[in-house]
């Protein structure tokens, strides 16, 4: 067991952390935005956590649905699929908004400078919606395609989606920050 755990654990970490460093490079290059929008740094761990959790649970539900036959392995609109996507989207909107508000209240609680409740709320919401649309599309298409090929999406999609979430979240937060700064907030 020792050898197998080390081999599989290290190999998956090599792939995941290569993307992780790409996300880190993105974060380091948006130092300007982090300074311009105080409170933004507070929301980053929570935002990454949410992105991974929402993407991971969607992938895991779709995998189960494909294995049980509740969803057909075809790229076709169905009520089961749309309920899954609507649920994911609503959850994402609520949690993104919450993360923005939390960042502001943490600033108040711990005496940090904040960009304001509205700015942080909008920042998290805009970044959350953009990244979620991309994640939902990629997750749905890939999970179905992988299943069609006879592979098990349970094994592949979970780690892939959480890593993808990390890499996507940073540019989306950056984009949202640019939008807000252009709007003069």
């Amino acid at each position: 067991m020792f050898k197998q755990t080390v081999r599989e654990g290290f190999l998956s970490q090599v792939i995941i952390q290569t993307f992780g460093i790409a996300a880190g490079v993105g974060l380091a290059s948006m130092r300007g935005a982090l300074e311009e929008l105080p409170g933004m740094l507070i929301m980053i761990p929570a935002f990454l956590q949410m992105r991974g959790a929402i993407g991971g649970t969607l992938a895991s539900r779709l995998s189960s649905a494909l294995h049980t036959g509740v969803i057909e392995p075809r790229l076709k609109a169905s009520r089961e699929l749309s309920q899954n996507l609507v649920g994911t989207f609503v959850l994402n909107v609520i949690l993104s908004g919450l993360i923005g508000c939390l960042a502001h209240f943490m600033c108040l609680l711990f005496g940090f400078k904040s960009s304001g409740l509205l700015a942080l709320f909008l920042l998290a919401l805009i970044a959350g919606i953009i990244s979620n649309l991309v994640i939902m599309l990629i997750t749905t298409v890939m999970t179905i395609k992988i299943y069609q090929r006879g592979l098990d999406p349970d094994v592949i999609m979970g780690p892939f989606v959480t890593t993808l979430g990390d890499v996507l979240s940073i540019p989306c937060l950056f984009l949202a920050a640019l939008i807000l700064m252009a709007a003069g907030m």
């Binding site: 952390q17 761990p45 649905a65």
Partner: protein, 187 residues
Amino acid sequence: MTYYKARDIVKQGGVAITTSVIVDSFAGVLLNAKMEALLSIPILLVLLPSLMDMTGDIGCMVGSKIATFLHLGLVRPRLEKNPYLMRYAAAVMTVAVLTSLYLTFLAVAASHLLGLSAVEPLKVLAVVLACSVSISVIAFLVGMVAGFVTFKHGWDPDNTTIPIVTAVCDIMGAMLLLSAASLVGII
């Protein structure tokens, strides 16, 4: 009627993810308190997503394995020496050390290519190793306690150990990154 209902997905997912998001906001507070140091030593920002990811992954590996051991009856829910746990701990520790070497190499190379202010590679390695090794130990201790307590109460440790261990690992990860960095004199 459909098998999946958007309302249930929002409700059930909402409870679990909201809790983890609140815990992670405190990790954000820790980072924000050291924002100036992070902005002036950007290699720490380069490392941040990877380190948070790695600590979460270690937490997951430990949490789900302890749950499996309990279900299989290979580990009894009490604090005692157990060969399965010891061997798994050694394997996780090895993964943590190997990944730290790889992560340091990538972060130093990326910072060099981007022309970010340089930090001695050995100091970076010391910080990454300190974080990953201590997180592995913490994950094991917390995973054992969380798994044992919930298992004794008749709950499924698969539902409880991972969220508890990963939340603790996220907070500790941010704390360890900052304290290790100041210990070796980077910040």
